[in-house]
Structures are given as C-alpha cells and as structure tokens.
C-alpha cells in the first residue's frame, strides 16, 4: 500500500467520523434547535485550536459508530488549553457505553495531569442498554474522576439535551452546571416513572428543564436561551477561572464602577428594603459582576467580579428577598460558592445586611442548623483573602456567620449605618429592661423608649469597632477605594491549615 493509499484510507475514515449520525439525524438535531457536537465545539473553542483525540474508538458490541457518540480532545479558550468532550446525540442517541465512557475518562485524566479545565457538553439518551454493566461501570469511573479532580481543576458541564438517571451525577459533581432553556432536561426519574409511582402529572420540561433546575432545585448555576448563548457563557466562565488550584484567576484591565450614589443607597430606616446588587454595582468594575445561581435563594446574592482588574468573589445578603434572612437554600448556595471560590483563589468580599436566620418549623425540621453550619465552615475553612463590609444589620449568629472577624475575615469594615449587636433592638430591650418594662405605667411607651436607647447605645458600628471586631468605619462612597487598597495589600497572604485527609464539612 503506497503513501497515497494510506492517506486516502485516513481521509475516508475521517469523513465517516465527521459525518456523525448522517444527514438525516443531523437535520433532526437542527430541527430541535440543537447544534451537533462538532458545531458546539467550534463555538466553544478558539478557531482552529481543536485537536480531536480518540476519534477511531469504537464499541466492542454492535455496529461501529462514529467516534462512539462522543467527540473528545483538547482546544483553547482565550488562548488557554481546555480538555473537552461533547456527546453526539445523532450517533446512537449519544448513549454512553464502555468505550464512550472511556473516552470521557481519558479527557478527565489528561486534564487533571496537566492542570487544565475540563468541559463536558452533555446530550445523551443515557446508558447504552446493550452494553449492560459495562456502561454502568463507565459512569462510575467518570464520577470517581470528577471527585478526584474536584478543587484541582475547574470542571464545567453544559447540559444541551436530555440527562437522565445516572447521567445527572457527573454534572452534579462538577463545579458549574449550565443548562440550555427548552432543550436541556435533568432528572433522576422521568415523568412516566413519576406518574406510575406517585400519580403526579408533570412534563419533562416542568420537571427538569433549565428553569426548574435553576430556580427550584439549585442544581443548575446558569441557564442560557440557546446553544450559542450557553457556549459563550462557558467561554466567559473559563476566561475568569484559573486553569487549576495553584494558579490565580487572570486579571483584567480595571474599569471604574457604575455611577451609584452609595452614600444614599441604603435606607437609614432598617425596615426598608433595597437591592444589594446596586451596592455591588457601585463597588466593582463596571459590568464585571457575573451572578451565579440568580433565581435560586435570592436572599443571598453571589457571583464573581473584578475590582480594579483583580478578580474577586462577592457574597451579599439581599434585603429585598426574604428580608435578607439566611435560610436553608441560601446557606447551601452561599457555602458552596465560597468553597468553589476559595478552591480557585478568588478573594472573598462579603457584604452584610441580615436580620438573622429565617424562623419557622419548616426551616428547623429541614435542618437549618446543619445547613447554616456549612456557611460557618466554608468561611472559616477558606484561606484566600477575606474582606467583610457590614452595610446595615448584623445581628447575633447571622453576623458571626457572614464572615465576621471572629470567624476569620482578615479585615472587617463597617458603614456608619451598621448595626452590629448580639440581637435586634426589640427583643434585646425586652430582655435587658424586663423589670423596668414590667413596672412601667405605660409599658408600650417604655418599650419604645428602651428600644431607642438600645439602638443608640449598641446598634451601631462603634461598639464592635471599640473591641477591634471592625477594623475601620468607612463612608460608603469611600468603600471601593478602601477595599482596593486593603485587598492589594492582602493578596500575598498565605494561610495554611493542618494536614489531614479532609475536613468533615457538615453536609
């Protein structure tokens, strides 16, 4: 066989692989508003950077299928290497068999060894039944690698089609899940099984669509309108994250913040709500805030931003949702975000305005104690620079939880409007002045007076500042400048924890 023959043979095989499931199936994929695996990789990666690997892999059973239903390889995003796998729904429904799984595992291994992010584009009917336990084992080995890579390299999964049963757990083990509205669905048991077992009537979209997984379950972190938007967002996420836990997240050119009158944004009346995202906008580089899990537990706002070009993670209470209380879902969202950001070296900026934990039997029976403990654990465990700004209310346990100095903030600032105390003025006055209130001729008037007295004496930043729990009381309009100064000084900070197998985060 001459050179030209071997080249022809390669070209023939490559053409077959590139044709994927054939024109009919590709057309059907397009009809559904979905791109093919290869079109998706073209949109995700810098032009001309994709090197496919494992293209000739085929299953041991059944007819050989192009690339065995998953396109794998390495490419670049923003010039930085990223390992990718894209399931191809046009080939055997993107079903996962032994070799399909082995190709994904190979990308995971290469990514972990070389300290590069790994991105999965999932669009699969599930396990390839013909391959039985071999397919099942394929999932297990992917889960194990997801776990071992956790906190070492960023792992992002984009759900661009069905993802059901065992297929949902690899995404759940990765750092960030992006879902496409209308075409992506995730669930453990589908609508038919639910109808048969519980009698509940629900569509696949209602059950596991992007909206449900983003706003009801908190499984997804982002939702995008179509494939193009989901992949553009994934590029943006990759551009913001470091390649691994040893690198720092890349800086960007600094920009002034949005024009927000911070001195007059937070109402002085502690009973009035406001949108804390306006505070964030007024502090960070203009339009740099990328909110994570917006729409889920919105009483806590989290996301990444830049401060004079330095990447930071922002965590804030949202007074306009659930009065800014901490609840089960908000605690989970906050703690997970803090741990992810700490793992990848984003300094933490925490903005505090919370009246406390959400009361109620649903919260207590739901385990707010153990969920709330995750917040404490995540903040105390984090070794990145931690700066806390107390905007208004900071009472009791919730004050401690929101990255207080005592819990491990490197620096705590407070606005003059801050109320830092062991509890809110009303209940505190009732306890401290119980005798006076009982013997008063007009208990209501006496209570009002004592509440005002308590507020004046304790509900301010100066009592905490007098003990050093607050390092500086700053004017809102001066806060950005102060945080920039302090953060640049804190960046070289190194903190070590005792070596151990791992901590026991209160799950």
């Amino acid at each position: 066989m001459g050179n030209s023959d071997t080249l022809q043979e390669l070209a023939r095989r490559e053409a077959q692989i590139r044709a994927m499931g054939g024109p009919e199936r590709v057309a059907r994929q397009h009809q559904l508003g979905k791109w093919t695996a290869r079109e998706r990789l073209d949109a995700l990666l810098d032009a001309g950077t994709f090197q496919e690997l494992g293209a000739h892999v085929v299953a041991r059973v059944g007819e050989p299928a192009p690339a065995d239903g998953v396109v794998t390889g390495v490419g670049r995003v923003d010039g930085r290497p990223v390992y990718v796998y894209a399931q191809d729904f046009t080939v055997a429904g993107g079903s996962l068999g032994e070799m399909h799984a082995a190709k994904i595992q190979a990308m995971q291994d290469l990514a972990l060894k070389s300290g590069c992010p790994v991105v999965g584009l999932n669009d699969s009917g599930g396990a390839r039944i013909q391959e039985g336990v071999d397919a099942l084992s394929g999932y297990g080995a992917i889960f194990r690698r997801n776990t071992h890579a956790s906190g070492v390299i960023p792992q992002i999964t984009v759900i661009m089609g069905p993802s059901a049963g065992g297929a949902v757990y690899s995404p759940a083990l990765t750092d960030l899940v992006v879902m496409v509205r209308g075409t992506a669905q995730m669930f453990i048991t589908g609508p038919q099984v639910i109808r048969a077992v519980t009698g509940e009537q629900v569509t696949a979209e209602e059950l596991g669509g992007a909206e449900a997984q983003l706003t009801k379950s908190g499984v997804a972190h982002f939702a995008a309108d179509d494939d193009a938007a989901a992949l553009a967002l994934t590029r943006e996420l990759l551009a913001r994250f470091p390649a691994n836990n040893v690198e720092d997240p890349p800086r960007r050119p600094g920009r002034p913040p949005a024009a927000v009158d911070l001195n007059h944004l937070v109402p002085s009346d502690p009973n009035k709500p406001y949108d804390v995202r306006r505070v964030i906008a007024g502090l960070v580089d203009d339009e740099s805030f990328l909110e994570c899990q917006a729409g889920y537990a919105d009483n806590v706002v989290v996301g990444w931003a830049y401060l004079e070009g330095q990447p930071i993670a922002v965590i804030a209470n949202q007074p306009r949702v659930l009065a800014g209380t901490l609840d089960i879902d908000g605690s989970d969202k906050l703690a997970r975000f803090v741990r992810l950001s700490d793992a990848f070296n984003f300094p933490l900026l925490t903005l505090v305005d919370t009246p406390g934990y959400l009361p109620g039997t649903a919260q207590e029976y739901g385990g707010i104690i153990r969920h709330g403990a995750k917040v404490l654990y995540a903040y105390a465990e984090a070794t990145v620079p931690k700066i806390t700004v107390i905007l208004r209310k900071a009472y009791g346990g919730a004050y401690l939880a929101m990255c207080s100095r005592s819990l491990g903030a490197d620096l705590a600032l407070a606005w003059p409007s801050a109320e830092i105390a062991v509890m809110g003025p009303e209940p505190a006055a009732n306890i401290i002045y119980r005798r006076e209130l009982e013997s008063a001729e007009d208990p209501a008037a006496a209570r009002r007076e004592k509440v005002a007295e308590y507020r004046a004496r304790f509900a301010n930043p100066y009592v905490a500042a007098a003990r050093g729990y607050v390092d500086a009381v700053v004017e809102p309009a001066e806060t950005r400048a102060a945080v920039v100064r302090l953060l640049s000084a804190l960046l070289p900070k190194r903190e070590a924890r005792p070596s151990r197998k791992h901590g026991n985060v209160p799950l």
Binding site: N271, V321, L322
Partner: protein, 150 residues
C-alpha cells in the same frame, strides 16, 4: 368527624368547627354564627380559657389547632398559576392593588412586614388582578395566597 374549637382573634371570640378533609376542594372552615363572647358575658357563663389570659395575649394554641385544616385548603389555591403567595410569615402592611388593576412583572402588590422588614411582594408576570386575598393588617403564613393575577 368535625371537632369544635373556640378561637379568639384580636379580642373577638369565635366558635369554629374543624373537620379534616380528604377532598381538599371542599370548604374546610365553617365559621359559627358571629362572636360568642358577648353572649356569654350576658348569660354569666363560666369564663372561657381565653379570658383567663392576660389582656391582649394571643391565643396561640387555639389558633394553631384551627389553622392546619385551613392551610390544606389554601395550598391548592396557592399553587394555582398566577397566584402570588407570601414568601415568609408576616403581616400585610399595605395592599397596593385592587381587583381589576393591570400590573406588569415586578410591580409591587403587597408590602409584607416580616423579620422587621417591609418586604415588597411583586408580580411575577403581567396581567390583571383577579382577586386580592388579604387586607391591610392581616397576618399571613408562609405560602398563603396574597393576590391572584390572570
């Protein structure tokens, strides 16, 4: 099997019959005919449990016993599309809309005082107010319907 309770709300005592339902669509709470406190004062009947309490004390036990059936009735309504529910327990401070008002997504419907905060409860989507389920001053539990928009 209906059980009878006496409930005192803001100084008014009511007799209520409470029965557990399997069919949630039927009415759960059947108010007795008007306040009974006056009647009893006049007839010199033995003091009610509530009367023995300090003035102004809230009859928590009675209220809570009476509430669960009421809530099972409220839940299907709360789940109905277009019904905006209380995100947390509190007191409706202001009701900003009336039946027939046209609202856009994000418009404030009710100011709900809870956790020392005047929480703005907003419309999720645009529409016309079909019914308002609260009056200013009303206490609501988490998940109670506030306003239905169609």
């Amino acid at each position: 099997m209906p059980r009878r309770f006496q409930v005192t709300v803001d100084g008014h005592t009511y007799e209520v019959e409470v029965s557990e339902l399997t069919d949630a669509s039927a009415p759960a709470l059947k108010p007795a005919s008007g306040p009974v406190a006056e009647k009893e004062k006049a007839s010199g009947a033995t003091p009610l449990v509530d009367k023995e309490r300090a003035p102004g004390a809230r009859p928590l036990v009675e209220k809570e016993r009476a509430q669960p059936p009421a809530r099972t009735e409220a839940q299907p309504a709360a789940a109905a599309a277009g019904t905006v529910t209380a995100p947390l327990p509190g007191v409706a401070l202001e009701v900003k809309v009336a039946v027939g008002d046209r609202v856009s997504a994000g418009d404030v419907l009710v100011i709900l005082e809870a956790m020392k905060m005047e929480n703005e409860v907003v419309a999720r989507e645009a529409g016309v107010v079909q019914s308002v389920h609260v009056v200013p001053g009303a206490s609501v539990a988490s998940g109670d319907p506030l306003v239905t928009i169609g």
